[in-house]
Symmetry: C2
Subunit: 672 residues, 2 copies
């Protein structure tokens, strides 16, 4: 019998009663309108209702059993989604609902989805890189999961630098086939999700050779396993790469290829082709090969905002229920959310969640425009789109990783329990700093983009929208009369970014003049380039936040909700200004009073956010089974949940584990 | 048959060949002399030689099996240490070598030691809090592990604020017993290491009541389990609290007590006593109860330096072997340690490891002096000792946690493999931010200490050594002529700390004047107090580092080693100055040239450290089985190790796991 009360904890009731705004209005705003919110709630309940509430328990299992349970959960989810789609869109071509990648359905596979790369990336890649015919042959069965795929690019010894990949595909003119090989162990494909034991097909990125002449990277549909028996095909060495920090059920795999033969028509040939006679036709726009990656990075920005807001919900609710350390010696212990140092940990992460949610909306808009451009054969905005997706990916993954850890620590000891779900969220976020473009590598790419933009700005030329602020910033280079307004803070960050960009540019140029090659100079300016890129990205995020709160959209919202969002904007801007104060003080003279006033504003706005923090997190509107946390449930019955969860630990099945009798007791007795 | 070459990777050979100093001299310096180094090496080999090299594999096991394997490993280690002690010190009273807590022996229990709290804290606590008679009765059998103990203070609903603990011990005059109870579920003892199923005794911290009158906290030796059967005794509800983020084998437990009766003489009575007639005698120096904690915090500082230097060794060696991304377009891929952005991730963590190692030596010295003072009945240095142990605990745990994660990320994807050992190191370091005094709570305590020191400084009174810098700093408040010397940097940090302390003091005073209670004012000044405490601690760490490198000890070292240490000091000081630049710029006017020069110094010193980085890590002198990493072995045969480890994954036992036949294939076919 459960000891968990059926009622909501009075401390949370009080918080909700005291909120100054309508949570439902916030939820609609956060989820993009009433209809979307309604559907999200329906979907979330639909996929989660038969899931064990304490789904983090998979972590007690062995590596093998985690995989088994994850496949089990995947099949249950996929079956339910297929049924739903049949009902919503009977007889349609897609058997999958369009929303299988939405954060709300993730939770149905607690250990992680071994086919998420297949569903989110492989299908899209076949569509974009394959011909229409190829999409019919491979893409449609993939959509229906008649075949399950993986995407293999990274190798054991090779990552970022794709030209360095060792895997090769040689065209055999006699048989009209490609022969694929991973000639060394460092050439083994490594890391692809689902590759271990789940996928039976794989998109393999390999260097194409015709008559032993290298033709550059191409992608090949390679069957891995027998369609009936699922046994690896001849020449295929495939398996699990071993346990990771997180992603427990994702079945990341390795792949060795030894003289594996596939028909010539298994090369994805929308952009470049190999003809029957061995003629090679180069893609007219090679950069399009990477456009799938841009899309994936936009998804990551959304996902990281989701992870962070989940963690913020857990930590904020817990902080409203947990009581600790009287503020005045003889007072009762207050809710820890009343300690200012605790507020400083929680609330900036709530604001961060919102900042990256808003950035997602903006970057998606730009992605849509760029896609339209491409269809019309215009590629001019690609570099900007690429740079923006890179920098947001870096910023949101870093913010999410560090934010979740701050929030976990804010939960004290109980945040270290797996059942808090915080360590699991952390492991997910931490991975994102490395996959789909390692963060430092991406920062350097953005740095290079800025090194091209800066001289254009100096020459007074027109700039693309995301760097347009540079023209203004290099004209003024400081703020003469600091008022501390939101506009001033944004301008201060822009001028700081411009200053950092200009320093990097000067150093780069000086190093070139001193005789360093372009590559050496870029490497030696690496630290400044990454710092400049970071500040540049921050400018986008603060502007987007400001625009949403103070722009036209504010007219659609109630004054009460606008006030809440203004508080969060104030918190975000003041925190960001303090974080980058070492850069701001280089370009803008702030008096001691100015600085004290920022500190005071921080302390003041924390008090305002304090009033609504629980309600804001309610407005994120996560199902308890999405949160998956003993600390974060809507009803706040934290201690009873931790207690019940402990009692359920498999170690507690017997009062004395066998190993005590066989090992510990004999040893203790031998010391007598 | 292993594919791992028997030779050292040529890239590491080259690094070692090019080192400018004698690694053996470094190792002697790091380990405190030739004799100590020799014994460390002997001990490390002795305890690790029969350990499976890939000991991280426990992470593949279920929660139960991890515990089983940890007990197994513990017994093997304990048996070996007992034999060793018998050989080294035949017939001695201690059956345990004094060094069971040394970092070098940890590695023998890869999943973590369920009796480390017993061996490091429980025995010491009985000695310090119990009478001599009690030590004979409980302490001696504990030393011999005839009984195994846990230390239970924290409760499910209560941590930091010990007066809030709910567990009570009522004296029963009739039977001369205490009756212990945990009246609610929030009163359950929660978290103690080893408590779950390992310990048969526990020191329970409880509120003492005599005739229903509270007498304050006291400690009680409570038998938990039958000495023969190990079954929980009547009234004892004990078990495992469930899986944690790390500490997999440490067997953290819960404990509920229902009318548990123990003899009066089981209360630890060195300082306070309950007599047969119920008379209560208060401890003359209540603060001594916490002196064990001071000692434990000193240990933590050492341990965190060790963890960080282990991670630095792994990441640095890997970075010398891994090749990625040409610096010039047509060059071969360089060792990633040649990328400046990579150097920026690795080398400051090497310097941090050293900084906290040196801080350990200093704080141990002060601990020794304070212990002597206490024996002489002098308690004057206790507050300083307490504050120093608190702030170093905070700084080193934070530095270690964030540093290890930086280093893990620097290993790219492979850092996410459990077999890199990085995630395990991270989980260990992360826990230390919370246990033995939650970091924010400790910062606030140090803040309070500083609020007492500051007015003394202002009044020109004498200050204890660790805050003595305040007198100077508040006199000058700035540096008129910045030279950028090491002394200038240290002074700049001291003045910044003093400034932060003075701001906190002013704000605190202003809030008191505005009518806030002392508690409210302290809470509202919380952010500034924690920031002031952090900066104050940094001043100690930089001074200690400077003193070691430039002080008298330098004469005992060769010029070559001194040059290496000077490079590391330069790196540490410049990095620290840049990190706290937002504070420094508030008190010292630095020109743009000054700032550029610091950046340049950072870039230059990275180049110098680059030459010796691998050799410095060799000088930390960790056994491969202490590193426990596929990425960090001395021979640098990284890829072969990752490869072999993957092949050994339990998931690869069968080419097609059963769940594919039972779940995945039927589903795929049903989509046809």
């Amino acid at each position: 019998m459960s000891i968990i009360p059926k009622t909501v904890h009075p401390d949370l009731q009080k918080e909700r009663y005291n909120a100054s705004f309508d949570v439902e209005e916030f939820a609609m705003w956060w989820h993009g309108g009433e209809e979307k919110l309604k559907f999200k709630r329906f979907l979330e309940s639909y996929v989660l209702d038969d899931l064990d509430e304490n789904a983090f328990r998979f972590q007690n299992l062995s590596h093998e059993d985690i995989y088994n349970s994850a496949v089990n959960d995947f099949i249950r989810l996929a079956t339910k989604l297929r049924e739903l789609q049949e009902k919503l869109n009977p007889g349609g071509t897609d058997i999958w609902p369009a929303y299988h990648s939405e954060p709300e359905v993730w939770g149905a596979i607690p250990a992680g989805n071994m086919f998420s790369v297949h569903l989110e990336m492989v299908v899209d890649c076949i569509r974009q890189q394959g011909t229409d015919e190829q999409f019919q042959k491979f893409g449609v069965p993939s959509q229906k999961l008649q075949i399950g795929g993986a995407y293999a690019q990274t190798e054991l010894g090779h990552g970022t630098f794709v030209r360095g990949l060792e895997t090769r595909a040689d065209f055999d003119r006699d048989t009209d086939e490609f022969v694929l090989n991973t000639p060394t162990i460092t050439a083994y494909k490594w890391w692809p999700g689902g590759l271990g034991h789940s996928a039976n097909y794989c998109i393999v990125a390999a260097n194409l050779y015709i008559d032993n002449e290298p033709k550059g990277l191409a992608m090949f549909m390679v069957p891995l396993r027998d369609m009936e028996t699922h046994m690896p095909l001849p020449g295929i060495d495939v398996g699990d790469i071993g346990k990771r920090m997180g992603f427990a059920g994702v079945n990341n795999g390795f792949l060795g290829l030894k003289d594996v033969r596939i028909p010539r028509t298994n090369m994805l040939m929308r952009h470049s082709q190999v003809h029957r006679d061995g003629t090679f036709v180069q893609s007219p726009v090679p950069v399009l090969t990477y456009f799938t990656m841009v899309f994936v990075r936009c998804l990551i920005v959304r996902n990281m905002s989701t992870l962070l807001s989940i963690a913020a919900t857990i930590a904020t609710r817990y902080s409203a229920v947990r009581r600790q350390s009287p503020i005045n010696p003889n007072d009762p212990e207050p809710q820890i959310i009343d300690h200012v140092t605790q507020q400083k940990k929680l609330f900036p992460e709530i604001a961060n969640s919102i900042a990256y949610k808003l950035a997602t909306t903006e970057v998606k808009k730009l992605y849509g425009q760029t896609s339209e451009d491409i269809k019309r054969g215009e590629f001019g905005r690609l570099p900007e789109m690429h740079a923006l997706s890179c920098i947001l990916k870096v910023l949101c993954t870093t913010a999410s990783m560090t934010g979740i850890e701050t929030l976990r620590l804010a939960c004290g000891g109980h945040g270290y329990l797996v059942s808090s779900n915080m360590s699991n969220l952390y492991a997910d976020a931490a991975a994102s700093c490395t996959y789909e473009g390692e963060n430092t590598v991406l920062l350097l790419q953005v740095g290079r983009f800025l090194m091209k933009s800066y001289p254009r700005a100096m020459a007074g030329k027109e700039l693309v929208p995301t760097v347009a602020y540079l023209s203004e910033a290099i004209k003024h280079r400081t703020i003469e009369k600091w008022t501390g307004s939101w506009q001033d803070i944004i301008k201060a960050l822009q001028i700081s970014a411009a200053n950092k960009i200009s320093i990097a540019y000067e150093n780069l140029t000086a190093r070139r003049k001193a005789g360093q090659t372009e590559g050496e100079a870029a490497n030696n300016t690496g630290i400044e380039l990454t710092q400049a890129a970071e500040l540049h990205g921050i400018c986008f995020v603060v502007s987007t936040f400001f625009e949403e709160v103070k722009g036209l959209n504010s007219e659609k919202r109630s004054p009460a909700l606008n006030k809440v969002l203004e508080d969060l904007l104030e918190l975000f801007l003041v925190s960001t200004a303090l974080k980058y104060m070492h850069e701001i003080l280089r370009v803008i003279e702030l008096s001691d009073d100015n600085l004290r006033s920022l500190q005071e504003r921080l302390e003041n706005v924390l008090k305002f956010v304090r009033l609504n923090a629980v309600a804001i997190c309610d407005g994120f509107d996560y199902h308890d089974k999405t949160l998956k946390s003993t600390l974060g449930c809507y009803d706040g019955n934290v201690y009873e949940r931790i207690f019940e969860e402990a009692k359920r630990s498999p170690l507690n099945k017997m009062p004395v584990p066998e190993v005590i009798h066989t090992h510990l007791k004999p040893f203790m007795k031998s010391n007598l």
